[in-house]
Symmetry: C2
Subunit: 213 residues, 2 copies
């Protein structure tokens, strides 16, 4: 059985509110738009907005859901004989090379990031999500390598991998905000990834190698 009318309407309402809000935010900035305005524009009550979104920031980052385990997924999907760091590097290269929106390589991303840049609370939320990603990765590494409880390696390795990802995303954001085209930024980002890989030590590059075959 699929889903009833109620579920469908709920999803639609939620989506609609999110869309309306995002539109307003992109147009006028995060702080300049009030929840009351969003509610009115979406033709619902303020309470309904809060019914779907715990906080104002959630309205903006609604589409960025399911990014928490991004790095973890890369690691879990690493190939036989491949280390955690190299798997992440490979996946990131693929996304950068294919000029994927997943790494912000798309027209309009600059608009998005400018809004974030202009609001402390959005930046805070972004950092929070990045922190979550890091912690998720640490847990995954601990799990995948079967490291003991007191072993600091998973945390350290997660930190190094996180550095790669963070630096990549920050750089892309900066370049996009600077007005560069996705294709151009893609090429620069590939160079950056090469440089970062060269800065990683052998021990990092070899951590969490999946048993061959």
């Amino acid at each position: 059985m699929a889903e009833g009318l109620r579920e469908r309407k709920k999803r639609q309402t939620r989506q609609y509110i999110s869309d309306v809000a995002t539109g307003l935010f992109l147009e006028r900035g995060f702080d300049a738009v009030t929840i009351a305005e969003i509610a009115e524009a979406a033709d619902v009550s303020v309470n309904t907005v809060y019914n779907y979104f715990p906080a104002k920031e959630d309205l903006f980052f609604d589409r960025s859901k399911g990014v928490v385990d991004r790095l973890s997924r890369f690691v879990r999907a690493r190939r036989a004989g491949e280390s955690a760091a190299l798997a992440v590097l490979r996946e990131l290269r693929e996304e950068v090379e294919s000029v994927s929106p997943k790494v912000g390589l798309i027209d309009g991303y600059e608009r998005f990031m400018k809004v974030v840049h202009g609001s402390p609370s959005l930046q805070a939320r972004l950092w929070y999500m990045q922190r979550e990603q890091y912690e998720d990765l640490e847990a995954t590494l601990r799990e995948e390598t079967g490291a003991a409880d007191g072993d600091p390696m998973p945390a350290l390795m997660a930190g190094q991998i996180n550095w790669v990802h963070q630096t990549l995303m920050t750089t892309i954001a900066q370049e996009m905000i600077a007005g560069r085209k996705p294709a151009v930024v893609s090429r620069e980002a590939l160079v950056l990834l090469d440089e970062m890989e060269e800065l990683l030590s052998e021990r990092v590059l070899n951590y969490g190698v999946r048993a061959a075959g």
Copy 2:
């Protein structure tokens, strides 16, 4: 001429408000204390509180001022023949070894961090300060090495050094919160620093070496 009565009173008032606030925060948590309560306890008006502190978080982190250029200072003070990363590692080791409050090795730090842990806005503020530290370090590295404008190395190196510092501070905070004694945490932290140094690549360990004598 030193300072007039006015300046002195201002500083006293500011300090008193901050002290009263910190006391309340440590006692009952950040969110559970209102600005109005602080104002009343400090026997001033709410507006006076806002006169000295732009936001509630500033009341809590008032003592943590001047930490922005912590890493930068370490780098600038590096010795002849010493690299940026090694200078930071050395300074951190010294502080950890001497069980210094500067790295959180002091009874009561656990209390402080628990409050931070319990409040999203305080965490956000902490991340913001860490971000500032990173950016400050990048600028310093760029300056000290005379790197070209498009050169990504200062940013990458700042990232690596920042990883060391961040990981150290986070670990110390966790251990302190877990109830360990400063002396014990100090010993663990020294081991951690060794492990991190071993994970840094030669290129990182050799970046920004100050010309010998």
